[in-house]
């Protein structure tokens, strides 16, 4: 094996375990919701295996469950996932250049994996990406199967507060990447802009509109490399 795999740091394993545990709970809530919205267990599980983008899966199921057209569910989900294009541009060098790395790495590109790799020591970013990518994919699908089969028996995930766990974890992963006044200006304006437009535009657009916060960085020369 290549040297980056020789030692998987205990710290990374612990972080991945924490995020993975929360992912099982959210995956189970998706499985339970999907089945109660009329999806077969097979469709719910296939959706988690093939789409693997939680927010868009919840959104698509909610749209269809409330009587919306499947086309609207697909388009709404894709709009929500559009942010993965700039994410891919930002982490391509971390994922790896070989075709297997790109083809598999693309599929496990969820927000937390991108943020985890970016927060890691650059020499270990690839290890971080793949470790969390594999963890999140496994736990999300495990959770979906659990929820689809035993949804009625599971506690309400809101009572466990997992909806607070992911934004807090993303914040923790974001912190080390926000350095310098220009970056702070851009992130604060981007976040503020996204919040301001949330009541008025469809899901997914707020964070894309938040990208306009980049303007607040001013000259890129002042952004730390």
């Amino acid at each position: 094996m290549r040297s980056i795999w020789r030692t998987v740091s205990v710290e990374y394993l612990r972080d991945a375990a924490a995020l993975g545990a929360a992912m099982v709970v959210v995956g189970a809530s998706f499985g339970a919701l999907a089945v109660s919205a009329g999806l077969s267990t097979l469709t719910a599980v296939a959706m988690s295996l093939l789409v693997f983008a939680g927010g868009s899966q919840f959104l698509a199921v909610a749209i269809v469950a409330s009587g919306g057209a499947p086309v609207a569910a697909v388009l709404g989900g894709l709009l929500l996932n559009a942010r993965h294009l700039p994410f891919g541009l930002a982490v391509a060098h971390v994922v790896g250049r070989s075709w297997p790395a790109r083809l598999i790495g693309a599929h496990v590109m969820v927000d937390e994996v991108v943020a985890f790799a970016r927060s890691a020591d650059p020499r270990r970013a690839r290890q971080a990406y793949w470790l969390l990518g594999a963890t999140m994919y496994t736990t999300w699908n495990l959770g979906t199967v659990l929820g689809a089969w035993a949804g009625a028996l599971l506690p309400d995930p809101d009572r466990l507060g997992v909806d607070a766990a992911f934004p807090a974890a993303l914040f923790a992963l974001l912190l080390p990447t926000v350095r310098g006044a220009a970056t702070i200006r851009a992130t604060v304006s981007g976040a503020g802009l996204a919040l301001a437009v949330t009541p008025f535009v469809p899901a997914g657009l707020p964070v894309l509109i938040g990208l306009l916060g980049l303007v607040a960085a001013g000259r890129l020369a002042k952004v730390p490399a």
Partner: protein
């Protein structure tokens, strides 16, 4: 949710993810562009944190979630491990909901 809809969402999502990787792979990226792409990812994650912490659908998420996230953020600020951040955030929100905070 029909089979073709699941397939279309899966394929579209995969192509979005792959296209970012491939576009970057084909170009030799100048330093300025690399900084811009990196900053764009940082801004996107910040926007995700803000909207996921405070909003649900197109409205306010209620107080329990942002309060839990704030506790978790404080733990992150103090450089506590991610597992502590996750537990503090979820635990804080869970306790508030138990106490009747929406």
């Amino acid at each position: 949710m029909t089979v073709w809809a699941v397939g279309a969402l899966a394929l579209g999502t995969y192509l979005i993810r792959l296209s970012g990787l491939l576009l970057r792979g084909r170009l030799t990226v100048p330093d300025r562009t690399r900084r811009l792409l990196d900053l764009a990812a940082t801004v996107l994650i910040a926007a995700l944190v803000a909207t996921a912490a405070l909003t649900q659908g197109d409205g306010f998420a209620g107080w329990a979630r942002p309060a839990g996230v704030a506790l978790g953020a404080l733990a992150a600020w103090r450089k506590l491990p991610l597992v502590v951040v996750v537990l503090v955030a979820a635990g804080g929100t869970a306790v508030l909901r138990l106490a009747g905070v929406p």
